[in-house]
Subunit: 339 residues, 5 copies
Amino acid sequence: MTVTYSSKVANATFFGFHRLLFKWRGSIYKLLYREFIVFAVLYTAISLVYRLLLTGAQKRYFEKLSIYCDRYAEQIPVTFVLGFYVTLVVNRWWNQFVNLPWPDRLMFLISSSVHGSDQHGRLLRRTLMRYVNLTSLLIFRSVSTAVYKRFPTMDHVVEAGFMTADERKLFNHLKSPHLKYWVPFIWFGNLATKARNEGRIRDSVDLQSLMTEMNRYRSWCSLLFGYDWVGIPLVYTQVVTLAVYTFFFTCLIGRQFLDPTKGYAGHDLDLYIPIFTLLQFFFYAGWLKVAEQLINPFGEDDDDFETNWCIDRNLQVSLLAVDEMHMSLPKMKKDIYWD
Amino acid sequence: MTVTYSSKVANATFFGFHRLLFKWRGSIYKLLYREFIVFAVLYTAISLVYRLLLTGAQKRYFEKLSIYCDRYAEQIPVTFVLGFYVTLVVNRWWNQFVNLPWPDRLMFLISSSVHGSDQHGRLLRRTLMRYVNLTSLLIFRSVSTAVYKRFPTMDHVVEAGFMTADERKLFNHLKSPHLKYWVPFIWFGNLATKARNEGRIRDSVDLQSLMTEMNRYRSWCSLLFGYDWVGIPLVYTQVVTLAVYTFFFTCLIGRQFLDPTKGYAGHDLDLYIPIFTLLQFFFYAGWLKVAEQLINPFGEDDDDFETNWCIDRNLQVSLLAVDEMHMSLPKMKKDIYWD
Amino acid sequence: MTVTYSSKVANATFFGFHRLLFKWRGSIYKLLYREFIVFAVLYTAISLVYRLLLTGAQKRYFEKLSIYCDRYAEQIPVTFVLGFYVTLVVNRWWNQFVNLPWPDRLMFLISSSVHGSDQHGRLLRRTLMRYVNLTSLLIFRSVSTAVYKRFPTMDHVVEAGFMTADERKLFNHLKSPHLKYWVPFIWFGNLATKARNEGRIRDSVDLQSLMTEMNRYRSWCSLLFGYDWVGIPLVYTQVVTLAVYTFFFTCLIGRQFLDPTKGYAGHDLDLYIPIFTLLQFFFYAGWLKVAEQLINPFGEDDDDFETNWCIDRNLQVSLLAVDEMHMSLPKMKKDIYWD
Amino acid sequence: MTVTYSSKVANATFFGFHRLLFKWRGSIYKLLYREFIVFAVLYTAISLVYRLLLTGAQKRYFEKLSIYCDRYAEQIPVTFVLGFYVTLVVNRWWNQFVNLPWPDRLMFLISSSVHGSDQHGRLLRRTLMRYVNLTSLLIFRSVSTAVYKRFPTMDHVVEAGFMTADERKLFNHLKSPHLKYWVPFIWFGNLATKARNEGRIRDSVDLQSLMTEMNRYRSWCSLLFGYDWVGIPLVYTQVVTLAVYTFFFTCLIGRQFLDPTKGYAGHDLDLYIPIFTLLQFFFYAGWLKVAEQLINPFGEDDDDFETNWCIDRNLQVSLLAVDEMHMSLPKMKKDIYWD
Amino acid sequence: MTVTYSSKVANATFFGFHRLLFKWRGSIYKLLYREFIVFAVLYTAISLVYRLLLTGAQKRYFEKLSIYCDRYAEQIPVTFVLGFYVTLVVNRWWNQFVNLPWPDRLMFLISSSVHGSDQHGRLLRRTLMRYVNLTSLLIFRSVSTAVYKRFPTMDHVVEAGFMTADERKLFNHLKSPHLKYWVPFIWFGNLATKARNEGRIRDSVDLQSLMTEMNRYRSWCSLLFGYDWVGIPLVYTQVVTLAVYTFFFTCLIGRQFLDPTKGYAGHDLDLYIPIFTLLQFFFYAGWLKVAEQLINPFGEDDDDFETNWCIDRNLQVSLLAVDEMHMSLPKMKKDIYWD
């Protein structure tokens, strides 16, 4: 479920963001504590080996190694690579959000353009609306693990009322080696044309208006599918991951506190706990976690889109809008500013 | 209220921006003075402890700690992280601004396409316009704390004239576990269709024109809602906040003036007031404040959008446009360039 | 007036851009020479004080201060902050340019869709066109200082022929606490509807085409207004300005040539003229000037948009197009490639 | 074929991205192993020459050279140049993906607007659809090496059923020195107009709807062509390539382990294997490989678009949609939420 | 002419980009060799003066100067400034490319909506098409030096068949102090309206479709004009140019090899040829050349758009499409997948 905190930051106040630091759901702590523990344990282990187990000559060698690692750790372009990569991931994530298919635009049009309050009219509008919802469900099944878990087979889709048994038979009967999520839209077009022929849709302007809107809906669906199908090239993700992991691996050795009595530059203090390295771990690993969370926003992370909720909302609301509310109008009354 | 200063910078002049440095409303000083005082007090306290309370050995230890902190302070990638983050926040903020729903496009269409100067015609146009304003009010109530304070319950919405009692009853009567801000748009569609049937709207082209425009309005509304609902992932905000706060915490120790007689590199001057550290505080904390202000532009900050003003303006102007001004025309006269 | 130099850089040639360095209008020299003189005078003054007035001990203290300043000058993130800020300003500036309202699209439609070469037809088309120009004039008056100077009152607007006295009376008569720049568009819609009723506009498709185009024009206008109303948050501009000004203030002290005989690192040469610091002044202050020029492109800078020229051009051209040129056609002849 | 891994990263888990490090297809290892071997071999060769073949004085000279190289290697702005360049390439790559022409929007319209289930009607719809597919095939032939290999001549296009022999004759017969991929669209327009005249397309609204959609399709095609025709300027690619290659060439010498006994700063450890330099090779060369893969996404890389698959899918699906499925409708039944 | 190399980089191969390094047309070498020679000669001259002409004391002074220059050369923010600037230029360049006016969309519409195969019908379609081409030619004449050379006067435009003598007279006859490139579009609108009145264009939907498309074409034209008229502010270009030129001027002195026997840090090797400085010259000057080439893509650089070719192609293709191909259709036949 999305973690909404905008109401907490409505006003810029005294150290405004500090309140955000004490949240758990969707927080950096929840996402990172396991990696953090592993990192801390490894650091401690190496520290203990250095302090307790190594002999003098081994210590000297380790110290040289540590200084060597420290120097090169700074040459790894973590900040820059992460900055560009996370920007890319965040843009893709947001584009996926704004392209989530919502049937609202279509339901307004169907409710106002497909006439008839009799049973046939109701059936027409509900069926059109159902086809729309069915298409997005088919798409969501292929992009979202959460939706796929809920609807593992087409049986579940039929059971949930998105499809009738007849439709399923026709759907399965179509021979095509390719995905068939576009089929309900063909039905939609055919049904709308039939309604036009029967006079339920008054004229071509109304019909084309519906078709245009349906095509917009389809574009949302196919764009979502495209984002899932063609991800950020694997190489890019690997480059970034390697950079970050290597950086931390290097820090395990390079950021050890060396014996202050040996007089190595920058090593005249032994704090035991490498507070700044741990903080750096939080910054960089946290930044990478941003990417991990957002690279596929259709999973079950705290911050992922609530796709199953969307599916339910869309079906419920759109049927309500085109059926029960069709031509229902509150009595028109003069508003209080009349004159 | 938005702080407008563009007229002050219309021309690039001698040290053009310096005038902006002496403003208070919406300024960095107003936003930061409390944090600045806390920072200065803490710095002074630590400085006094170091200078007056610590013994010689403790001082030596503190000096080492300070140098250690100073060195690592520079490894915190504050600039970079802030640069990318603020760019993201500013883009979102501006997109929210350009998607504020304005009813002007709709009111032009309603005024010119919904005919009839009799009472029924007036009622039609006013009611259509009111539904539009009602929807955006419902959305604003959920995204803006300022609007929510003004309209804490639906009673307030009715009292303010955005909704009639009948409409409210019908609205409440609808059973849906989901937000119902789309309901007035269904009414809009139904009412427009009715007007079309009655011949008040001449033909389908006019009707679809209205519906298209209404859908555009709806998209603005839902996009605003989306920006509120799905914010920048909490992790990202936390990473940035942690980086900045840690940086300043580190500076409290690392930027102390150490005893010049001890000959530490870069510590041969004791200015008492750490002028550059304080300036850095202004830069970085100010940059973070930019993000804090803009991350939710619907609060009550100096720079936040004046949503309540928008609501009033939109209702007043749109009722004026579709009612009093309907078909009102100045007498056509030859302009002064005729021939 | 915009400084156009694209024809000078059509081809990439030997040191292609060097010619641009010798322009005065709109140049970095013209914009910066005053600041540069102030900076140079201050630098010289401090230099003279150091060289001639200070005693030995004072000199030693000043030298320490200078080194201290120099070291911290490099910690001010001028480059980065400027890079992000200027990118933001440049994007906004260009968006304002592409949203300047041009009546051309509307004038083509009016000329071809509003029929009748008689006086009434001419009056119709000219009046429609005038309303369009009037709206943008009203907007320009509030965003552009240059236009405001030219049209300080509505009297000037009437005198310049954008509005008739009748229209002005009606305009003033409307009671609204809000800006009324949208009023001519209501007139436009009403007049177009009247023309449709009279048969001057043939059918609803033509009418809606006009209305759509008018709404596009309105969007340009309101976006310009929005850019003026909601600027880059003051805090951001202050942060950047503070960073740059502080940097140069610091350089005044930190970049002094210290006595080479004292053997300070990096201070074994006394050039008297701090050539690189002066160049840095040009880079950074020039970069900031880019922002100063573009942050409000409706002023009277060399590079600002020529709004008054636009206003004249639009009125002249659009009246010409819808009146004199209405249905005027060159004789159709076979072109030279016929067969 | 595109390497899809989004299902693997649906949830942010413990060291979430590490699983991606062990993939081979499309991975950094597969792309880089040859370059890596070359780099390692050269490094080893130089190392062996230094250690075994050089005399003392030669060694001293090589050591100076190595230190010199190392110092300047850091001045090569690889990170920055790569960051900007890869961002540009990634944006172009994604824009090409979202502009891949899919006939789905058109097939919905054709199926619902071109009437008649008789043979002539079927022929009409199938032919219209075929013209659409033919155009994109012609475009794909010029931008994609993979498609060109499959359809090296127009004969292959005819054989594959995208064109009839008659059409080919007419196509060849047209005299134009320019590419003729737009010809099938003229046929499309003519055929649609004919269908309109015959009453198969009911009215102009339907016809224009088809034409608009066809023009959208054409824009996708021509944009793809444009991306192929006008690439990133060669100079930019050369600058980036030179920077990266030079960097690694410099590293071959500058990152050698020098004799620790000579006491060069930063050279008191001989690890034989330059682990960090090899890692840097992976980061930077991998980053450049991202660009190499994406700069022309119509080749046969692991991550390139599966153009041939698209062509087959589009033809199969679109003929199915406009012919077999034309006016086929499942029986309308009450859905399970009825009442 | 554009340098197309995408087919060379279709697949990511072993050192994939190295092939691009050996091209001459449009290459960094061709663009930079003159500047490179100047730089190398100056460097050599200074080097010879230092080595052969200067006395001992002068050498010592020069060495101090060189070290001073070297240190400050690194403070010039060349990389960053260039990165932001080139990104801006590249974006503008690409936007200009995607806004090049292509008449294809219009020619499809004209061919299918303007009826009549008789001479008057042909004349109508050809004339409409010619007006479209004429407008873009007028625009190209003002933005492109190459086109202006080819059509220095309106006589050349008439001679080339874009305009008839009659049209030219009418065009010249129009009194307007402003550019008149919009005039042919008024003719277009008038002619289309006439065709509608004569029944050659069937109804308003077709007409408005044409007008909309024409307005889209106009927007492309005027955007191109806008890009030419309002360039990147001169100050910005000057700042970048100054930064790069200063950097290289500084390197001439600062990157000299100093006498190794004097023991200056980092100067214990004399290679005579400053290989890394020369490479830096290639990177930075090459990056700036990218900007020089793209800042005005309508010149005659190797990478500039082939505007004259566009003009010819557009006229030839569009006349062919609306005349010879009007209503020409291949015989419809069953495709090979029928059943």
